[in-house]
Amino acid sequence: MHHAATVDLGTLLPAWSALPFAGILLSIALFPLLAPHFWHHHYGRIAAAWSLAFALPFVVRFGGAAAHELLHVALVDYVPFLVLIATLFTIGGGIHVAGSLRGTPAVNTAIMVIGTVLASLVGTTGAAMIMIRPLLKANRMRHHRAHTVVFFIFLVANIGGGLTPLGDPPLFLGFLHGVPFFWTLSLWRQVAFCAAVVLAAYLLHDVHYWRREPADVRAAPTAASEPVHLEGAANVVFLAGVVGAVVGSGLWHGPTIEILGVRQQVGNLVRDAILLAMLAGSWLATPAAVREANEFSWAPVREVAILFAGIFVTLLPAMAMLRVGEEGAMAFVVRAVREPPHFFWASGILSSFLDNAPTYLAFLSTALGRLFPGVPEGEAVARIIREHPMFLAAISNGSVFMGANTYIGNAPNFMVKSIAEEAGVPMPSFFGYIARYSLPVLVTTFLVTTWIFFA
């Protein structure tokens, strides 16, 4: 019933019904740059306005079918997504790296490598939160630090998250829509290639700037240093619980039950219950001092809860129209984006400026609509993995990697920028970031990636 409703609505909805989706994504992208004070205080109202701009006429026009679609997206996409983000954020915020590090090129590169690997385990936001302060502390004596923070955004806040559904929200949404947990590990070549190239570029940059540092900065310290150690290590256990729960939900689905008319697998409910238990365990087991050292607060979770409620509601018509392929009002998108390189760059360019999670879902729907129009989603996802895995790889890589292209491409980018600025690092402007770093380093790397992996 659900799939039939989706297909029906996808062929009936007009193209302009996707305008609120464009509106909310552009609001998220532009308001923090153009009117940060206003946005900080009113983002909830703005998200609600865009949501209602779609949801009200949608329900009035399509009645019960529309209400069912909204409930479906809330229960199947939004709640599990929010539970995972909140859990990883709580666990990440409970781990603090303490001790003295000295920001030499070798130490900085090692921090980048650890953060990049960590990103696929605790998510890009969690890894960035754990590693950014040790990095800034290690580089406190350096006169040239902005490049280090920029490459940290590239690697830890974006590229590193490309290996598992825990790494970056787009991949978790893919998992929720039927992509097996371990399938993303098959993307290791692209992730390793991009990470290695960007890391090498960072090392060259940092050696260059290190040589320009004054002699007193480059001199070995004479004072004793505090050994590096992990505080809040119990969170590693909770993290293992999260991995187990998510992997388990992919292996065991259990019976199907109906909640408010929406069919849901018991395995997913068990997973979310375990995640919430891990969240609670992390909260209770972590000393308050550790969370204070990370400046932990619930504000980012509240932001995700509010904004993604709006995103998932407004995304609904775009996904429905794309999923029916050339039968829908967005047939022009389906016709324009046809081959894996197109999907890599189209999902990537949009992810550079809009949030990458909904972008991933939109292009997944486009690919399914192009390759398997009218086929139920679960079956279509299984077939794309079996018959055309390069399409899914291109969408996954484009969405995850190219979130690094701008400050607004991925949520942790802004968080890292903000923390670094408050530590006295003068971060490049929006366009300075693109011109000095993204274009020469990232875009070049992604062009080579296209040639090697998707051509």
Binding site: I28, H40, H143, E303, F414, E421, E422, V425
Partner: protein, 190 residues
């Protein structure tokens, strides 16, 4: 430190540096009294001059020297400079110097360092078109993903002008702070 002069030397950069270094060393002069202008942030004035520098391989080098040593430097250049292919092209007195700066910081520590570098200004040095202000948003504490706002912001810009040695000292102190954007040091010559 008193009056400053500029000596424009025509010749190779390495030879010019060697000559200045030898002059300072031989006479036991404080090295902060004879400086290569490019080392303290003086840029060629126009795009044309910069292009000329590029095309000619940087044949002209400006040396800043305090009045007490200017005649000795000119004399040494006339007698020993030719051996290194150096000759004096121009000589002027520095009337005053200045540079523009701007800073935007979200850290009180950085703001304090900027204030320490500019207050008090050395004797004979003043601000022009100086603007400085702070903002506090007490409800913006903590990290944010989608709606970031800094709890504290410090912004300042302006020009520091006046006696050359004082202006150089302020510029060097500000150059130590990564967040400060510095324009080139400009000289008004007579």
């Amino acid at each position: 430190m008193g009056e400053w002069h500029t000596i424009l030397i025509d010749g190779d950069e390495r030879a010019t540096r060697g000559f200045v270094s030898g002059f300072v060393g031989d006479r036991g002069i404080d090295p902060t009294q004879v400086l290569l202008a490019e080392d303290v942030g003086v840029l060629p004035e126009s795009l044309g001059e910069r292009l000329l520098q590029l095309v000619t391989g940087g044949r002209h080098h400006l040396v800043l020297v305090v009045e007490a040593h200017v005649d000795a430097l000119v004399h040494a250049l006339e007698h020993a400079g030719a051996a290194g292919g150096l000759r004096m092209a121009e000589r002027h007195r520095v009337v005053r110097a200045g540079f523009a700066f701007a800073v935007e910081a979200f850290s009180r520590e950085v703001a304090d360092r900027v204030r320490a570098a500019t207050r008090p200004l050395p004797a004979g040095v003043t601000f022009e078109a100086h603007d400085e202000h702070e903002e506090e948003h007490s409800d913006a504490k903590g990290i944010a993903l989608y709606a970031p706002e800094h709890a504290y912001a410090y912004r300042a810009h302006g020009r520091v002008t006046g006696a050359l040695d004082g202006v150089i000292a302020v510029r060097q102190a500000l150059a130590e702070i990564e967040a400060v954007l510095l324009e080139g040091l400009e000289l008004e010559l007579r």
